[in-house]
Amino acid sequence: MHFGPHLLLAALEGLVTSAVLALTALGLSLVFGVMRVVNVAHGEFFMLGAVLAWAITTSIGGHPALGFLAALVIAPLIVGAIALVAERLVLRRLNYNPEATIVATIGMLYIIQQLALTFYGPEARPVEPPFTYRILLPWFGYSGYKLSVIAASALLLVATWLVLTRTKIGLIMRATQYDSETAQAFGIPVGRVYGGVFALGAMLAAIAAVLIVPISQAHYLMGQDPLLLSFIVVIIGGLGSLRGTVVAAVLIGLSDGIISMFFSPTLAKIIATLLVAMVLVFRPQGLFGTASR
């Protein structure tokens, strides 16, 4: 394959990775930014989204698009509810202590994973894409659905950004992130904001999973890669920075696509990890993060 088409394919693949990664990492970043909680179970919320998408699409039947749309709405809601319950039952009782919450979310990771294994089983199960359209380029074919994932993710990111910057809920969240004690003094129900943010973070991961599951498949171990990549993205972009998260996701996704295609996927992972190390050494707050006060 010639260089041009090769690069195009690499960029397309990279953008699909970026799109899903940006959504997942944004959830992780929000939770950290507002609550200062490192949610190790984030990848499992992603997995739950995919598993629920399978359950919903298979139980609805009919045209694949019908089930898929239902999954896109219902799966994140269920995952959000589960996250809310987890937040109420576990994180709140630990007073959001940074060390304790890491251990607690590791525990949640295993509990969710094993429950999925018990009730969903160890198989990888496919979800039919809402539409199958193969875009025929002169050099290779490409899945039309994959392109739609990029568009859907961009829309969702813009929506999240609007919510955070243009609405009262966003204002409250930003106030809590900026200084939770002062926010509380001004009558902001910080506890409820925390619950809502944790649920929202999990829902973003679940949406990303529903979008990706027709491309890959639902499997109980699928949460591990997104978790690792999300951490990489969040560290590079700056914890709690929306803009940084999106930029870093595009950067990591594209470099992953391009390096994997021209060199090897292993090298792409090595470089991403090296980048994290460099960022931690030279700019610990991340590319777009603000230095901690």
Binding site: M1, H6, L9, A10, E13, V16, T17, P64, L117, G121, P122, E123, A124, P126, E128, P129, T132, R134, L136, F140, G141, Y142, S143, I215, S216, Q217, H219, L221, M222, D225, G257, S260, M261, P265
Partner: protein, 433 residues
């Protein structure tokens, strides 16, 4: 210190007298009549087979079907009187398709469950990781793995593969067909671990001997979830893509291959591993029509199926499309799982030849297995006839090449046993028992 929270030995009243009483009671229990039955255990207790199963992890789909096949075979063996008049009991432990846990599971079978043998492993890295534990515990380890590692004689004398032909032999017997019918310039896609390396190492020389060439080799980790990025490495002049993938994402692999090429594709020759437990009529796989697959045992019922093959399919519970009876979406791993059935019958034969009574006869069982030379086609070996080389602990059988036609796989070529025979690379029988 708060006394109430500590354990004070002086207050428990454990005197020398009670201690002696306890000792006496224990001694009495051991010699009591109830324990006598253990001395007869060898003649009446069941033969225990430790089944190292991939219940979870990347091999889970295989594990589930290996369990179904094993249960069916054990049921048939027990209904016919068991082994040496003793019933067979299968004890299953999950290895998570992980070599480290695999070794632990073998140890558990040997010391805790005290099973007579260990059986049933598929994934080659788990076999390679577990084999030393079996050798150390001196417990016969019958794998159904397909990899060349047993026959390479790099494992040890306790490891056998009598139920499924190894990859090196499979490749050697099919290479002439590939070169003659599919094309001369071959690009290989294989999983980046032990089993894949057998394909990587043995396909090029086998094709070379037929005047064909491997022009590119693409290794993909079995845990990979997206594959399009690997496909540009396939050279444009490729005539045949030889693909073999494993892991939970095989369907994605084949789908993305279809998106990449569409109907304008090179010839495809795949190992059924790329689509085991996956419906070949899944949306997006239409491009496979007309492509060819290796099958160990055909997934779809064939017109010329033997009575033994039909009985085997009924016993395991798969329909004419190779899916579970009553659930057409639950597709089996037909190309591999027959090996469990056949291996259990080899174990039965070897135990009967050895007059096997219990774990103290394990060495005799090893020697009796090594003495076997051939298995005739029939209810015990429904996949076909096999020869067995006791020096390398490996059996050799026929292979099927099937074509995708109208949403089914039709066998178009069967290899002969002789096509897959090769020079032994060593001799396990020279190792001490």
């Amino acid at each position: 210190m708060d006394k109430s929270k500590t354990f004070d030995l002086s207050k428990t009243g454990l005197t020398r007298r009670t201690a002696l009483k306890g000792l006496a009671a224990t001694a009495g229990l051991v010699t009591a009549p109830g324990f006598v039955r253990y001395s007869q255990a060898q003649s009446s207790a069941p033969i225990k087979i430790g089944f190292q199963s991939h219940r979870t992890g990347i091999g889970a789909a295989y594990g589930r079907w290996y369990e179904k096949t094993t249960a069916a075979a054990v049921k048939a063996i027990n209904a016919a009187g068991g082994i040496n008049g003793r019933q067979v009991e299968v004890i299953i432990e999950d290895d998570g398709t992980d070599p480290g846990r695999g070794a632990e599971v073998v140890g558990k079978f040997a010391t805790q469950h005290k099973t007579d043998i260990v059986f049933g492993t598929l994934f080659s890295h788990v076999v390679i990781g577990s084999a030393p534990a079996a050798g150390e515990a001196k417990i016969p380890y019958f794998v159904v793995s397909e990899g060349h590692h047993v026959a390479s004689t790099k494992l040890n004398r306790y490891v056998f593969q009598p139920g499924i032909t190894d990859v090196k032999s499979q490749i050697q017997s099919m290479a002439p067909w590939i070169a003659a019918n599919a094309g001369k310039k071959v690009t290989q896609i294989f999983p980046d671990f032990a089993f894949g390396y057998d394909h990587r190492d043995y396909l090029p020389p086998a094709l070379k001997a037929q005047g064909a060439d491997v022009i590119a080799q693409i290794a993909i980790p079995p845990t990979e979830s997206s594959f399009t990025k690997y496909f540009p490495q396939i050279p444009a002049e490729t005539e045949v893509i030889y693909h073999v993938m494993v892991g939970p994402a095989v369907l994605t692999f084949v789908k993305e291959l279809g998106e990449f090429y569409g109907s304008n594709r090179p010839q495809l020759f795949g190992f059924m591993d790329s689509l085991e437990a996956t419906d070949i009529n899944s949306p997006g796989l239409e491009f496979l029509d007309g492509s060819h697959f290796w099958e160990g045992s055909p997934r779809y019922a064939q017109a010329d199926d033997s009575a033994a093959q039909k009985a085997y399919r009924a016993a395991v519970g798969i329909d004419d499309n190779g899916a579970a009876l009553g659930d057409p979406k639950d597709v089996s791993t037909a190309s591999h799982m027959f090996g469990c059935w056949e291996t259990l019958y080899v174990v039965k034969k070897a135990m009967e030849d050895a007059g096997y009574k219990g774990p103290e006869d394990r060495a005799k069982l090893v020697e009796a297995t090594e003495a076997l030379t051939a298995f005739a086609e029939g209810p015990e070996h429904p996949q076909g006839p096999k020869t067995f080389n006791g020096k390398i602990h490996q059996c050799f059988g026929i292979q099927n090449i099937s074509k995708v036609e109208g949403g089914k796989l039709k066998v178009v070529h069967k290899t002969k046993i002789e096509d897959g025979l090769y020079e032994a690379e060593g001799d396990y029988t020279t190792q001490a028992l």
